[in-house]
């Protein structure tokens, strides 16, 4: 019923079977041969080239993400926060995901009316220039309301997403900016000097002040996270994590309350500096450079308009006057000169000289500030009344090099070593200094004006405060500093030949404030403590013989007003140096400011 399939004869069938078996064997041989080729291929890939493919597979699988460290916070001496990291909302934009960049820019402009137009244009210009797949953060912090408004419309704006990040903020704004400094976006010059691996993922870097000086400590070290990503780059799971080492918190010696109060002393006068420190250890309590500016402007990159207006401000807020303002010290130098003279036995402190209102040397009259003269004065009187003639005469007996050597231990003409970058040295002249810098010999006439802090003398407010502190603490050469916890070697001691000499000089300074004829006696009245001080009025330029008519000359050419002092007299807790640019006489402008700062501080620390 089923068809018979074997149509061939038996002989034919046998021959065919024979041939068929031969071909089957041949075919099986080919199977074995080609499978061996496959196994050879596999052995090549999996054995011989295993290392290479193993690495490639790991490369595929693992990608490394940097975890940027959180920047250390900065506190004042009373644990009040001065520099914080605040979470803020910003927009992350990726050109790749956008339909039309111009359209997105338009939408952003409508959504964020407070965003500066220039800044917006700059940002989008940058976005157009960067790689399509790279994400950029809009340098703008959205308010909660703006963030909510964006969130509601985000689906209409592809390529833009809301993201949170930590932003450096300075809650006290402009207060103390010259000490604290600020952070800003890392620029290409800074980038080239950095260890790139440490700054991967970090957006900002300290640009000035404490933020720059302690950059390394504040920044911390980035962590590394190995993540497993799939072929589309999505992170599937975290593998190994080396956590970031957060930046260290830093506590300053600054008392932010005192700082605010000191800055508030500048009302009528716009420019100047106040440095207040603890004379026992060099801790700076207030560091004022006026005018100030708001560091918060710089964190996300300052917009051109604000920057230009700050640059063009005639009062030059960017100058850090405390360390870079170089002023003739004027009469504030006198106590130091006097101390040098008696320590070197140049003059007896009791010796009186007569001041007719001028000092004549080589047919040139060097005028005293008091035209009528002070009459017969000894050293005490010369300091209390700030008699110029006494020092003119004394200086010729001392010679410039003795003055230099006497003042040098107090830190004049040298960097104080304060922990903010860019400090100026100032000038403490000597014969050698003039020969080296100007290639000229020293003239005795120059010694005369040097003795009252004019001529070549230039000091920074910080140097004056330091010198005052050394005077107050009995010759301990303290190093001014802004960070509290730093380990410091014990201060060196100025060689004191006779401690009576020191007492005499500071007693004279006390009488500047409390004596009957003291130049600042008006400001010493009614103080709950005794203090020492010295006024100074530094000529900005020499008016020569012409009469000094304050009202007639440009205010910018008014004398600088200076004051140094410390309090309480018996147990000094605060030393202050004040310089008010073009503030006029030291006793009128600088002295009350310094006294107010001391009063404020000692209210709490007496």
């Amino acid at each position: 019923m089923t068809p018979h399939l074997d149509f061939n004869s038996d002989a034919e069938s046998q021959a065919m079977k024979q041939l068929f078996r031969g071909r089957i064997l041949f075919a099986f041989g080919v199977v074995i041969l080609l499978f061996s080729v496959l196994i050879g291929r596999m052995a090549y890939l999996q054995w011989f080239d295993f290392e290479r493919y193993h690495l490639l597979a790991e490369d595929n699988r693992i990608s490394v993400e940097t975890l940027p460290p959180t920047r250390g916070k900065i506190y004042d001496r009373n644990q009040i926060l001065l520099a914080d990291n605040q979470p803020v909302f910003t927009l992350k934009m990726t050109r790749e995901k956008m339909n039309d960049v111009d359209e997105v820019e338009q939408q952003i402009a409508e959504l964020l009316p407070n965003l500066d137009q220039q800044r917006r244009e700059d940002f989008f210009e940058k976005l157009r220039r960067t790689s399509r797949s790279k994400s950029l953060l809009l340098p703008y912090s959205l308010s909660e309301e703006e963030a909510a408004r964006f969130a509601a419309r985000s689906h209409l704006i592809p390529g833009v997403s809301l993201t949170a990040r930590l932003k450096r903020t300075y809650p006290f704004g402009a207060t103390g900016v010259h000490a604290l400094g600020y952070v800003g976006r890392i620029n290409s010059k800074e980038l080239s000097k950095l260890n790139e691996s440490e700054y991967r993922g970090t957006e900002v870097i300290g640009k000035s002040g404490i933020e720059k000086f302690y950059e390394k400590r504040l920044h911390g070290l980035p962590g590394i996270q190995q993540v497993e990503t799939n072929a589309r780059g999505r992170v599937l799971r975290k593998l190994e994590t080396v956590p970031a080492v957060p930046g260290e918190d830093i506590q300053l010696t600054i008392d932010i309350g005192l700082q605010q109060f000191a800055e508030s002393q500048f009302k009528e006068h716009k420019r100047g500096s106040i440095v207040a420190m603890d004379p026992q250890n060099g801790e700076i309590l207030a560091y004022v450079s006026m005018p100030t500016f708001d560091p918060n402007l710089f964190v996300d990159g300052i917009d051109q308009k604000s920057y230009t207006s700050l640059l063009k401000n005639p009062h030059k807020p960017f100058i850090n006057r405390g360390i870079n303002g170089k002023y003739p010290p004027g009469s504030t130098i006198k106590p130091f000169v006097a101390l040098g003279a008696i320590e070197n036995n140049i003059i007896s402190p009791n010796k009186k000289i007569y001041d007719p209102g001028y000092f004549e040397y080589k047919n040139h009259r060097y005028r005293d500030w008091k035209r009528t003269g002070h009459g017969l004065v000894d050293m005490h009187d010369a300091i209390v009344q700030s008699c110029d003639t006494y020092f003119y005469e004394l200086s010729l007996d001392m010679g410039i090099d003795t003055i230099h050597d006497a003042l040098s231990p107090f830190g004049f003409g040298q960097k104080t070593g304060i922990d903010i970058p860019g400090e100026s040295k100032g000038i403490l002249p000597s014969q050698a200094w003039k020969r080296e810098t100007k290639g000229l010999p020293w003239y005795r006439g120059e010694t005369i004006i040097s003795s009252i802090g004019q001529g070549y003398n230039l000091t920074t407010p910080l140097q004056l405060a330091k010198a005052t502190a050394i005077l107050a603490n009995g010759g301990k050469i303290i190093q001014p500093h802004l960070v509290r916890d730093a380990q410091r070697p014990p201060p060196e001691q100025i060689e004191i030949k006779n401690s009576q000499n020191w007492n005499r000089v500071i007693a004279s300074m006390r009488d500047v404030m409390h004596g009957a004829r003291g130049t600042a006696r008006r400001h010493g009245i009614g103080l709950p403590f005794k203090m020492a001080g010295k006024t100074g009025t530094a000529q900005v330029f020499s008016l020569n013989e012409a009469d000094y008519e304050e009202e007639n000359i440009d205010k910018r050419l008014h004398d600088h007003s200076l004051f140094i002092g410390f309090a309480p007299f018996e147990n000094p807790k605060i030393a202050v140096a004040v310089i008010v640019e073009n503030g006029g006489s030291g006793s009128r402008t600088a002295a009350p400011m310094a006294v107010n700062v001391m009063k404020k501080y000692l209210q709490e620390h007496l």
Binding site: L5, L19, I24, W47, Y53, N230
Partner: protein, 375 residues
């Protein structure tokens, strides 16, 4: 052959057991079950542990096993009767595909019968060798050149219908299955050598008529690194998967290349790379050994077949299986150009598995429906 001599068949002949009653060849079934078990494990791993995929895979395996069982019951002489009709239907369907076929992956390969989508070229994988074998069932020995030429023409005609779909890879493989029949039927060696020579000479002409995507595949195959993110990507990622498996492999479920989606088509065409990555060179050798076992058993069945028709079919189907394994592994390991081709019995996927299991059913039928008169 040692395996064949210890065949359970010899035992069951005297003592008719369940397998013989069902017309099942135990050795072949053993090899198939080993491959399908491995396949299920690999599909589970390559899909990232997706039980839904595994479940669907098992349903298909069950369905295909059913078909194998069904075809094992059909005596070869019945198949012989139906062969010309099946060929006719197959050719008509191939023509229908060209005229009204569904487009899938840029080519017309499917016929849509409402709930069932059917790939006629899949049918032809079985029917063409059967048809050519049918042609030589009556042939004298050695076969006349006229008959050989006629067989070659049938093969060329069928392959031509598939090549215009366009599906060069499948058409070449189907042609191969027909050519194997010619080979086993006694195609003279000088003709074989001449044909090989002619093929080499005609390569530039074939190149000229190839589609752009086919040319691209060949070019990419010759230098995959030239386009690492484009068409070379698949091969590079596949080689990384294989190479990174090393000798011992990364362990079951350890294929990062598949799980992280670097490897394309990891449950289907590139499933071998998952095996190589997870089970290493050892796994590869075991798999190839099982294939050799199955092929050897199939070829043994061919030698034991009692007539031309069945022995030609059996030998051709096994060599076709071999070619599929060779091409797939050659492709994923970068020895051959990428042709969309599953790994027999291992890849996840319906129609290829069904065709294969039917061919195993036919093999079992051949081995178990024997006329006792010869013994």
């Amino acid at each position: 052959m040692k395996i064949a001599l210890n065949s359970p068949q010899t035992v069951y002949r005297k003592n008719k057991g369940l397998l013989e009653a069902l017309h099942i060849d135990g050795w072949l079934l053993l090899g198939i079950l080993m491959l399908l078990a491995g396949s299920t494990l690999l599909v589970y791993s390559a899909s990232g542990g997706d039980w839904d995929v595994v479940y669907r895979h098992l349903v298909r395996i069950g369905f295909a096993m059913g078909l194998m069982l069904l075809f094992a019951q059909i005596p070869p002489n019945i198949l012989y009767l139906f062969t010309p009709w099946l060929f006719g239907i197959g050719i008509l369907m191939l023509i229908a595909v060209i005229l009204v076929g569904d487009v899938g992956k840029g080519a017309q390969r499917w016929l849509d019968f409402g709930p069932v989508r059917f790939q006629p070229s899949e049918l032809m994988k079985l029917v063409l060798p059967m048809t050519v074998a049918w042609l030589f069932a009556h042939s004298s020995f050695p076969p006349s050149y006229r008959r050989l030429l006629f067989g070659a023409a049938l093969i060329a005609f069928t392959a031509g219908l598939i090549v215009v779909q366009p599906d060069l890879g499948t058409s070449l493989l189907i042609a191969m299955s027909g050519l194997f029949v010619l080979f086993f039927a006694g195609l003279p060696w000088k003709v074989i050598l001449g044909a090989v020579f002619a093929a080499i000479v005609s390569l530039p002409i074939v190149w000229h008529f190839m589609h752009a995507y086919q040319k691209q595949r060949v070019l990419t195959f010759l230098n995959p690194e030239s386009d690492p993110l484009g068409s070379g990507y698949h091969i590079i990622q596949s080689k990384i998967a294989i190479g990174s498996g090393g000798i011992e492999g990364k362990g079951f479920m350890g294929s990062t290349q598949a799980h992280l989606e670097f490897l394309p088509e990891s449950t289907t065409d590139f499933i071998f790379s998952v095996l190589a990555e997870e089970f290493g060179l050892i796994g590869v050798i075991i798999l190839l050994s099982v294939y050799v076992f199955v092929i050897a058993r199939g070829l043994y069945i061919a030698t034991q077949a009692q007539d031309n028709f069945t022995r030609l079919i059996a030998a051709s189907l096994m060599m076709t299986l071999f070619i599929y394994v060779l091409v797939n592994i050659g492709m994923v390991s970068g020895l051959l150009p990428v042709v969309g081709l599953p790994l027999p019995l291992i890849s996840y996927g319906g129609s290829a598995l069904v065709t294969l299991m039917i061919s195993f059913g036919i093999l079992m039928s051949i081995h178990t429906h024997k006329k006792m008169l010869t013994k």
